[in-house]
């Protein structure tokens, strides 16, 4: 039998890490929900606050790591270079909020409880499209976790995009890097933000 491929070694690593990923995503979701109770309790009718957790699936994790390499190719002579622990979002929580002005408030609250986490915001021309932080939930955790704070429509679009475009076959993920797709995605996100802002203005000014 030949040597195992880098992909097979990473799959083994994934299933070793999976129980940790599940524990961390559950704990992170609970902590985020707990700290957002003061906001959840006083939401107005038109407002939304949704907290979701997820564990990255095995092939998505491999594909993401492969995509980080230039030419999306693992160096077979250097298997030691690759570990799923280098990914920041094996375990993750997403906070969806409406109206968008809630995002900054939520960010401020959570920042107090995740002070050491690394900020990696998703920016667009006018500011933050999403707040994003990653770090270790507890000292000694093998897996990094991530939480994102994003407006409802943008977050739902990301979910649709992922499940419709990349979920059927993870290698399609590379299409997202094409400049044509980047342009189309930016146009969708701009349209969604304009829609959300307009709705927000109408509701707030009623």
């Amino acid at each position: 039998m030949g040597d195992r491929t880098i992909e097979d070694r990473l799959r083994e690593e994934y299933f070793t890490l999976l129980p940790h990923m599940r524990r961390i995503s559950g704990q992170l979701e609970t902590k985020v929900r707990y700290h957002l109770i003061p906001i959840s309790e006083r939401l107005k009718k038109y407002e939304q606050l949704v907290v979701k957790s997820r564990v990255k699936d095995c092939e998505s994790a491999l594909e993401k790591l492969r995509g980080f390499q230039e030419g999306a190719t693992f160096d077979r002579d250097r298997p030691d270079l690759y570990t799923l622990k280098s990914l920041k979002d094996l375990a993750g929580v997403r906070v969806l909020a409406f109206p968008p002005q809630r995002l900054t408030e939520i960010d401020g609250i959570l920042l107090q409880h995740f002070k050491d986490w690394e900020s990696d915001p998703v920016l667009d021309g006018d500011g933050h499209l999403a707040f994003k932080y990653s770090g270790h939930y507890q000292t000694g955790d093998q897996v990094r976790a991530e939480y994102q704070i994003v407006s409802v429509l943008t977050g739902l679009f990301w979910e649709v995009e992922h499940s419709a475009m990349y979920k059927p076959a993870t290698q399609f993920r590379g299409t997202a890097e094409s400049f044509r797709m980047k342009k189309r995605r930016a146009a969708v996100l701009n349209a969604l933000r304009a829609f959300e802002t307009e709705f927000e203005n109408l509701v707030l000014n009623e």
Binding site: G71, D75, R78, G125, E177, F179, K182, K183
Partner: protein
């Protein structure tokens, strides 16, 4: 995506497509099989248009592929990509 970045990528995309490059989504490369040249997305994003145009105009190698990466690919990566790209 900031507008200036979007515009810069538009220009680079046009330069590549006019020179016969197509996007290979599995390897995240812009590839011209006839010229046997490939540009990584990272290289294209990081380098100015003038560098891109210069590299496109450079003559092809007599044998094998020329890869324009920010970090020179190893022999192993190069040989895997040459098999995939044909």
């Amino acid at each position: 995506m900031p507008m200036s970045e979007s515009t810069a990528l538009d220009v680079k995309q046009r330069i590549l497509e006019e020179a016969g490059y197509k996007y290979n989504f599995d390897r995240r490369l812009y590839v011209n099989r006839k010229a046997k040249k490939a540009f990584s997305v990272a290289f294209i994003e990081d380098k100015p248009e003038s560098v891109l145009q210069d590299r496109i105009l450079q003559p092809s190698q007599e044998t094998g592929w020329k890869f324009y990466f920010n970090d020179e690919p190893s022999e192993s990566v190069r040989s895997q990509l040459e098999i995939v790209l044909g």
